[in-house]
């Protein structure tokens, strides 16, 4: 278990006015790019959070889109038992299939040669 992050209870309504809260800012650099985390701003409400985000993450035309999300609205999962179970998952990855020696044996058995790069 990781140290607990401060989270507000349940509701996604803004907190009482005058309370500054962190908002996470995600930015898209150009059309078609993924949204990437940029940083965070501290604001009393979403409107000002968006203004601050524009000022700090879009001032130089470095973004085509910003997502501004109240930190406490993020559902965080980092449980290693679920995400990084200590099991061999190599069969789910291309690198999990190493057949060089077996291929060599198969060619030898069939009396063939390794195809040239172009024909492979």
């Amino acid at each position: 278990m990781t140290a607990t992050r401060p989270k507000s209870e349940g509701t996604s309504e803004p907190e009482s006015p005058g309370v500054l809260e962190p908002y996470e800012v995600f930015r898209q650099e150009k059309d078609g790019d993924p949204m990437r985390h940029g940083g965070s701003v501290l604001a009393p409400d979403p409107t000002l959070a968006v203004h601050y985000a524009r000022e700090l993450y879009g001032r130089r035309q470095e973004s085509v889109r910003l997502w501004v999300v109240r930190r406490s609205d993020i559902h965080d999962l980092d449980d290693p038992d679920l995400l990084q179970p200590p099991l061999d998952r190599s069969f789910k990855k291309p690198g999990g299939y190493v057949m060089r020696d077996k291929l060599e044996a198969a060619r030898k058995q069939a009396g063939t040669m390794k195809p040239k790069a172009k024909e492979r």
Binding site: M1, T2, A3, R5, P17, G18, L20, P22, H37, G38, G39, S40, V41, L42, P44, L48, Y52, E55, L56, R59, R60, D78, P80, Q84, P86, D88, S90, G95, G96, V98, M99, D101, K102, A105
Partner: protein
């Protein structure tokens, strides 16, 4: 035939970026795991468990950096209305805006470590926390603006580039953004300097005069030599290089670029020692550095006084945003 089982790939040890602790791991054990983690190049996020002295170490470092960005705009701000052309004025305005933006990003990183922004301003204005030596000096001419944007920012970026791999991940990410913006400032400054040295004799003398005055503070900027093994910030990998490594790197890149413009550097002892592969220089005035950073520099009080005035004048904005009940009444 080879046993197919023997061919099964062995996965590399899975590297966890996250420090995970069962609630019942005793403090000393956590501390040991944490030290191993950062020593091996592991990263720390705001929500990870960290020892108190790591937290305060990062906070002190980031807060000083944020203070320097905030105070650093004041010398340049004085030249916004005196910039020689409209394009220079736009560039300088953008630079000032960038530096204030950097201060905001860095204060945000520090806030997540537990110190409220207002408390950081209180400490800065009360002289309890510091800002970089170079911002305690006056700017006497447009030549100063060129030298500051070129060489002060260059000396800063040498340090900042080494921070892009800080063990404190939110700081490292912020430094990547800041370095990208700073590189524009250096170009702006170098362009100002190159323009002046190719101008009239008066303009040329103006740059040389600025360089003569700024060289001392520039050599002091990274701080006195200190043994690597005694530096807690290095051991925690909050920063990556010693002050002397940074100074050597700065000299290596910028001395040739200064000299190629026909400017002279006011240090008769400055030379590259090819045998030792390092720069030799006259001992910087460390007494001056100590005097200046403890707010006894020529402009320390004036800069802080301006910041205090500015904070009072903008108080109504913060009150309005935070909905001060007294204002609503």
């Amino acid at each position: 035939m080879t046993d197919p089982l023997a061919l099964d790939p062995v996965l590399p040890e899975r590297e966890r970026s996250r420090l995970t602790f069962a609630d019942d791991v005793p403090h000393d054990e956590r501390y040991r795991i944490f030290e191993e983690h950062v020593a091996a190049g592991g990263k720390v996020e705001a929500w990870d468990w960290m020892p108190d002295d790591y937290r305060t170490g990062v906070l002190r470092f980031v807060e000083m950096h944020a203070n320097s960005e905030l105070m650093g705009v004041l010398p340049e701000r004085e030249w916004l209305m005196r910039a020689p052309t409209l394009r220079r004025k736009l560039a300088l305005t953008a630079k000032v805006q960038d530096e204030v933006g950097h201060a905001q990003l860095l204060y945000r990183v520090a806030e997540d470590l537990g110190k409220p922004r207002e408390a950081m301003f209180d400490d800065l204005l009360a002289g309890k926390t510091k800002f970089h030596n170079v911002f305690h000096y006056p700017t006497r001419s447009w030549g100063d603006i060129g030298i500051i944007a070129w060489l002060v920012d260059a000396a800063a970026i040498v340090a900042q580039q080494a921070l892009r791999d800080s063990s404190y991940a939110p700081y490292a990410r912020t430094m990547r953004k800041i370095c990208w913006e700073e590189s524009v400032h250096i170009m702006h400054g170098r362009d100002v300097v190159v323009t002046l040295v190719t101008g009239t004799p008066v303009q040329r003398a103006m740059v040389q005069d600025a360089l003569d005055r700024w060289w001392g503070p520039l050599m002091q900027m990274h701080g006195p030599r200190s043994p690597r093994e005694k530096d807690r910030d290095l051991a925690w990998r909050i920063k990556a290089k010693t002050s002397e490594e940074l100074r050597q790197e700065f000299l290596g890149i910028y001395v040739p670029r200064i000299l190629e413009l026909g400017l002279s550097i006011p240090d008769p002892e400055l030379r590259f020692d090819a045998v030792a592969a390092e720069w030799r220089y006259g001992e910087p005035d460390w007494e001056e550095l100590r005097t200046v950073v403890t707010n006894h520099g020529p402009m320390s009080e004036a800069r802080l006084a301006f910041r205090r005035l500015n904070r009072e004048e903008t108080r109504w904005v913060r009150d309005a945003i935070l909905g001060d009940p007294q204002l609503a009444a």
